[in-house]
Symmetry: C2
Subunit: 391 residues, 2 copies
């Protein structure tokens, strides 16, 4: 096991109707005047925003509000939020929504206490000070609810950049599985796939002697295998949603990924697919992962055999471990298909003739040096073959 | 799953030579003058205390020191520590040792900022303010390194009482598995047993639909099964120690126990054994758990069958699940014997004729009402039978 630091100071408040505790939690973490930050109309229509306001009223905490956060949140709204907070004397940011809303809230929180342009933080300056942020999550395991990261897109040039710092880790995050119930089945399946991807990216390690984190990752994958089909079959199944939501949060805090090298090649390779075809990230991962794993398998047959046996219930072929390893990859692919995810380029809406372009942007876009690294180091030929496996 | 709150804000710094980062971490968490608090001479003899001091010197952080913490830490030393901190202007407490040293440090941290008698906190007053505490752990998973709890014994009347509050949660805890290497094999085995007990107490739940936490507990039990014998066979095996240490910490933060009722009957029943015979807590648990589980098994056969199959690798007897359930309990008992733990009253040094006394103190001591509750509710006859199963 490698040396590591594990720091996850966010207070997770989990369960039914927990959004009604927003006021109490803002107060506990020192807020006296709140900005409620959110995205589109669904939090208004569902009545969630009203419940949050009622909860703040109950604690006599005044608030202002700012909606309009879009996927890939923009700098323009961040500037607007910063101005509003300064004008109104806001000292606590409450994000109601998914990852984009939380990321936008973190940017505002850092910007309010900074005299310069908040974009400095997204150009490399570390965030050392920020207003406290709390979140009420409307999508399972956005990730941002427990992290010190934020990604914002600057309108000029559409520059997408990240900033980090312990100061922007949420003080609390309210996780009510019932709030995720309005999503369509395809989005739910894409979310499940994304959580499993976060687990596989951690599982595929070159670090030896990591039994405890191997076992924890396997535990969360087994949970997804059990609960995924249940929530797809019955979107009102609160218990299945609750198990998935906590598994997703546990995957994100990285308690199961500490002390080991990680992969993340599937995320890199998928990124070009969702960028070019505007498909759901999870759907892209469903097509990408079996291809990447098939290509990576010879790099460490026993690791893939282990996950096949321990997670997918395959019988170990002791004479031919690669048979077991392949069976595990097939089982994962079939699982993803069973919850409604696409299985190849065609179903995803991707085109074989785009492969050279995909590989080029992947390896040379954004200042890339011609290779990407994780569980393995991949060059042009490798990446081309992997995309071809998806056709 | 039940609603829950999960809050574990401690920064865990894990790995080889991490004690040399003490100074850097004290600085990060705002300390400018430190009390180094420790127990006996082993931290002096091993050179650990010197390394910690060197690390503080490197950051130009002045310190005073106070040793002499004993198991079941006493109020006298706490008063002494509070006076010393006030006199010297200490603003950070650094605990170097195990659970007792950390508990004593937390008491001092709360007492320094309080005008009254610190014992008020151990008489029911909540701790809302305390000096920051950091820890350097010398024993795997003492528990106190990540908790907001502290237990102190008042010399007058030997009253043992607990206090709690988020304010006394350690800001950081340094976990270097190599620092635990000096313990004798019997103590290591007792520690392993204690960690497994913390997992079983969480596993035995009456809450339904808790797949994610079931799986996480099973993951940590599987880790202990794999790593326990390795560290007993080779005390210098750093990797086995590292896996055990992180598993123990994960068990304690309760991320695998949230949202479900828990048991803790084995802990209650064992407590009377270590109190009367002064045996190691873990050794007492090794004798207690198989007896308690045997008695509890009919309460939920399928739960015991599940752990037998998933953790102990037993074959499921679908026609007779109780056969599988029993096989799992036997496998656990044999595991504990294999790492050197006692298997019955005789090996523990307990006496059959004391059973009525044990039951009486268990059920009626400390204001007890004649029953104890967890996975089941037990009365006099139940507890008598359980102790008899240990003979």
């Amino acid at each position: 096991m490698e040396n590591f630091e594990f720091y996850s100071p966010t207070c997770f408040v989990f369960g039914k109707e927990t959004e009604n505790r927003a006021g109490e939690l803002v107060k506990r973490f020192g807020g006296t005047k709140v900005l409620i930050h959110y995205g589109g109309g669904s939090v208004v229509r569902s009545g969630l925003l009203d419940r949050v306001k009622t909860s703040l009223d109950k604690e006599n905490i005044p608030y202002v509000e700012l909606g309009g956060v879009k996927p890939n949140p923009r700098s323009g709204l961040v500037y607007e939020g910063i101005d509003l907070c300064k004008k109104e004397g806001v000292d606590f940011i409450l994000a109601v929504g998914g990852g984009s809303t939380i990321d936008s809230s973190k940017a505002i929180a850092a910007g309010v206490l900074y005299d310069g342009d908040f974009w400095d933080f997204y150009s490399g300056k570390p965030i050392t000070e920020a207003l406290p942020v709390g979140t009420i999550l409307t999508i399972a395991a956005a990730g941002s609810e427990g992290s010190g990261d934020s990604v914002i897109t600057k309108e000029e040039g559409m520059l997408k950049r990240g900033a980090s710092g312990n100061a922007i880790r949420p003080k609390f995050s309210i996780l009510n599985p019932a709030l995720t119930q309005t999503l369509p089945a395809y989005q739910i399946a894409a979310g499940i796939t994304d959580i499993m991807a976060h687990l596989y990216e951690r599982y595929l390690t070159n670090t030896e002697e990591v039994e405890v984190t191997d076992r924890l990752i396997e535990a969360l994958l087994l949970t997804m295998i059990h609960e995924g089909p249940r929530v797809i079959a019955d979107p009102d199944n609160y218990e299945a949603r609750a198990n998935i939501m906590w598994a997703g949060t546990m995957a994100h805090t990285n308690s199961c990924g500490v002390g080991r090298s990680q992969d993340w090649l599937s995320h890199m390779i998928e990124h070009e697919l969702s960028a070019l075809y505007d498909c759901a990230h999870g759907a892209g991962l469903a097509v990408t992962m079996p291809a990447v794993h098939t290509y990576e398998m010879p790099h460490n047959v026993m690791r893939f055999a282990q996950v096949a046996v321990r997670v997918w219930g395959c019988q170990m072929d002791f004479a031919h471990p690669e048979v077991t390893a392949k069976a595990g990859i097939e089982a994962f692919r079939n699982y993803l298909i069973s919850i409604g995810m696409p299985k190849n380029f065609e179903e995803l809406g991707a085109k074989e003739e785009d492969i050279p372009k995909l590989v080029d942007v992947l390896l040379h876009g954004n200042g890339g040096n011609g290779t990407i690294s994780g569980f393995m180091t991949l060059g042009e030929e490798d990446c081309t073959k992997i995309y071809q496996l998806m056709v």
